[in-house]
Amino acid sequence: MIIMNEQEKILTEKESLDLITQMINKAKDACHDTGIAAIMWGAVIAICSLVRLSELHFGYRLPFDIYLLTIVAVIPQIYFTIKEKKQRKVKTYDDGFMDSLWMGFGICIFLMIYTTSAMYSQWDPAADEYRKLTGNAYPFRLYEFTSPLFLMLYGLPTFVTGVSMKFKPMLWGGLLCWVSCLVTIYTPIKIDLILVALSSIFAWLVPGIIMEKDYRKAKSELAQANV
């Protein structure tokens, strides 16, 4: 550990280079992100999908839409963001890019929910009318195509974050979302829900746990180094 005294020490060339390396590593170690938000969103999306799956499989309905949990989860997300910004003593060049990427993703998800709701509001009466007239279910099942659209969106910021942070769990998680997107076009709704749950677990929950572990490890190492 280098202790900077009042008196300036004359450095040798080797010492200078070692000091540069040490300080660059210290700055790098301080820039670990917490994985709390990724853990929370991975868990929330997986829970929503699995609860909806159990509703369909066992034929019951909760008194509320389970996907409302995603709106509730925005509150702790705002809290985490404010807390993290206040604690952040150093800003990296990636910070602004990551913040706008995930904020843009949040806006896209909101717009996607709004758009699909608008589509359902027109599709539902048409499907009912068809059923009344023919006695058969409407052949085009719109709800079968909702999951692929969301999975396509989930993959984008996850993949970009994984590539730019050189964080492989997120890179593979993003790719899994896109593979699941293709598969869910051809699978029934129950399989879609399982794939959405698996994708959110592997794209966010698992990488979030790894990030949080790394963050805690780096924090305790730094604390020990400063003793």
């Binding site: 210290k26 700055a27 301080a30 820039c31």
Partner: protein, 95 residues
């Protein structure tokens, strides 16, 4: 022939500050103090020297009613740091 090492950078604390700032967009004074294990007084003096040389920008503002000093490396600072490292390598490589 070896080039003379920049005397502004060839000092333990100033070099530590510049090495911290080279990889980040900006850093708070308290962060730099913590990572360099320096005293606030000495760090202030060295930061002022780097500022006078045009190597860093120092932004003073208030955050939650507390004064906050943030340091940011300038383009001139990046150039000087890169030249310093190249010169160091030539010393160590003996070329």
């Amino acid at each position: 022939m070896f080039k003379e090492l920049d005397p502004i950078l060839h000092s333990q604390l100033r070099l530590a500050v510049m090495s911290l700032l080279i990889g980040v967009k900006e850093a708070e004074f308290t962060f730099i103090k913590e990572k360099t294990n320096s005293t606030a007084g000495n760090l202030s003096v060295q930061i002022q020297k780097l500022k006078d040389a045009g190597y860093i920008d120092v932004i003073k503002q208030f955050k939650d009613n507390y004064p906050q000093t943030t340091c940011k490396i300038t383009k001139l600072g990046i150039k000087a740091f890169e030249e310093y490292v190249v010169n160091l390598q030539s010393y160590l490589g003996g070329t």
